[in-house]
Symmetry: C2
Subunit: 330 residues, 2 copies
């Protein structure tokens, strides 16, 4: 990802919400990364304390945290997201330090952000241009609809469409604001594209671990998944081809992959080896989760190998949520 | 729940995994409760530090925590669950202090536990009777299949069936072990039953808060739901009848209620009042969650009332998971 984005001449501003780890942050730092993305004010505070001083909070600004935002902005370059003139005016009035402001654009995901043709964008730009504290940074999108798309062509089509929309907006305002940029990020399209050029900034995050969902989307191979949860076996039921692990919803999260006939998969099952872990045990998967229990379905020919006290590895469906539950954040 | 179980002459051993709160624990203590259930060794340690000294860990014993179990058992009355002679022999060999041991029985949920007719039960009883440290406490079940049952008759049918199975097992061994008991617990059946008698011990937990899932099962009314998550509004999109809140999967958990046509509901929406909160806003619900964002769908006639900076309350689908994510456990 690093090499590809460098080749595209874009700024690489990785999203740190997936790992939330100072140690992994340092791996990025050693590669020369000095700008990051996070998803909350508290996560920005956490990384700012570790010396990160150029942080974008990629979440519509929460007015109730204006005090914390002021505190952060007093010591680092902080960038915020807005999608209404109402919130922008609030920031213009309340902020005591310079912050960068991106307009969040909805290029088709329909979560947060303004549609490219929304007249609200003009109002926000006017408010920004009249403010001393707010610097208009440009247009930002998260193309989260790549997660429900299937197939490389369809996913790269979303990337191209987002590129066109962001660059059209940028072109409209670039004369008045020569410093504005386009910022784009999602792991599926950034993983599949051979070429990420055409955006000024790229912000994927999940690729640092990948997960079973990304494998199903086609963003990565099983070998690329870089996180496995160590779960002790507590019961083995050969009669129903099931193993119970200490590893439930409060460890893995309830994210799942769905298929026909009510089939649900909450993770793949691997065996730990001296240097890592095996490929998934064929036909084995986490079929159900309650608060602390996980149920693994496993074919007859493998199940007799395991007994209580063994430790199985689970490749999570959504690494961001699993790591959020299990990571030490101190 | 307290009055009903007292009337049934059963021991009330509430499950504390739902609230994980010392403060709420104290409410139970003031009502005279001195025996509790938890779902992990770490939760047992947490409550033991607060003076709880009779704790059942209602999870198949995890051999890898034997050191922590020994430490706990040195100072409190600890009860463990087993469902194999293999794990029971391990405990008999490794434990240094007296612990109580329940045999986990599967009365139809098919998560953990042995079927009532499983010959493994006899082997476990033999191992227990030969051990100095292990005291055979009796038979315990969690009738989790009440969660997927619908209708009072069907749910109380599960309760009766479990009662019959546990008492039959108890009858088989009572002459040899006069102190053994039957232990039962799940919120749906204990909520719906007018009479909980026939078990020696009852262990529901979720009822302390209830939630949207329990409301859908029929265990409680909406008024009984005793937890709401305060979520700041960050964006309002009247054009698509949606509000974005700061309240996502890492706050609420991804548990949902499902209906036809791919309908998913991740929570009801309420307004806070001076003394609590309103009934749910009609037609409004959390329709989607990502890591930090929640999307609320809300009918046109209500949506104009809200703007960024307002705080909405969300009644969670599964209070145990939501509280686990948000509770301060220090």
């Amino acid at each position: 990802m690093f090499d590809k984005i460098r080749k595209s001449n874009s700024i690489f501003r990785p999203h740190f919400k997936t790992h939330q780890s100072l140690e992994i942050g340092n791996i990025f730092r050693r590669k020369g990364i000095d700008k990051i993305t996070v998803s909350s004010v508290s996560m920005a505070e956490y990384f700012a304390k570790d010396g990160w001083n150029d942080i974008t909070i990629a979440f519509p600004v929460n007015r109730l945290e204006v005090e914390e935002i002021n505190h952060l902005a007093s010591s680092i370059q902080l960038n915020l997201l807005v999608d209404s003139a109402y919130s922008t005016s609030f920031l213009a009035e309340k902020l005591q330090h310079n912050v960068g402001v991106f307009i969040k654009v909805d290029t088709g995901y329909h979560r947060s952000g303004l549609l490219p043709e929304d007249p609200e964008i003009d109002k926000i730009v006017t408010t920004l241009s009249n403010s001393e504290k707010l610097t208009f940074k440009g247009f930002l999108t998260h193309a989260g609809h790549t997660y429900s798309a299937r197939g490389k062509e369809s996913i790269l089509g979303i990337m191209d469409d987002s590129k066109e929309k962001l660059n059209k907006l940028k072109a409209k305002y670039i004369d008045q604001f020569p410093e504005i940029i386009s910022s784009y990020g999602d792991t599926p399209s950034c993983s599949m594209a051979d070429d990420c050029s055409g955006f000024d900034e790229i912000r994927p995050g999940n690729f640092v671990f990948y997960d079973v969902m990304q494998y199903h989307i086609g963003s990565c191979s099983l070998d690329d998944i870089a996180v496995a949860i160590a779960c002790p076996v507590v019961s083995v039921y050969p009669i129903r081809n099931e193993i119970i692990i200490y590893g439930g919803a409060i460890h893995l999260s309830k994210e799942f992959i769905e298929a026909d006939n009510n089939f649900k998969l909450f993770g793949y099952v691997v065996e730990f080896t001296e240097n890592g872990w095996s490929t998934p045990i064929p036909g084995a998967y986490v079929s159900s989760l309650s608060q602390e229990h996980g149920i693994i379905k496993m074919p007859q020919k493998f199940i007799d190998k395991f007994k209580p006290g063994d430790v199985l590895g689970i490749l999570p469906v959504h690494s961001c949520l699993t790591v959020n539950l299990l990571a030490r954040k101190d």
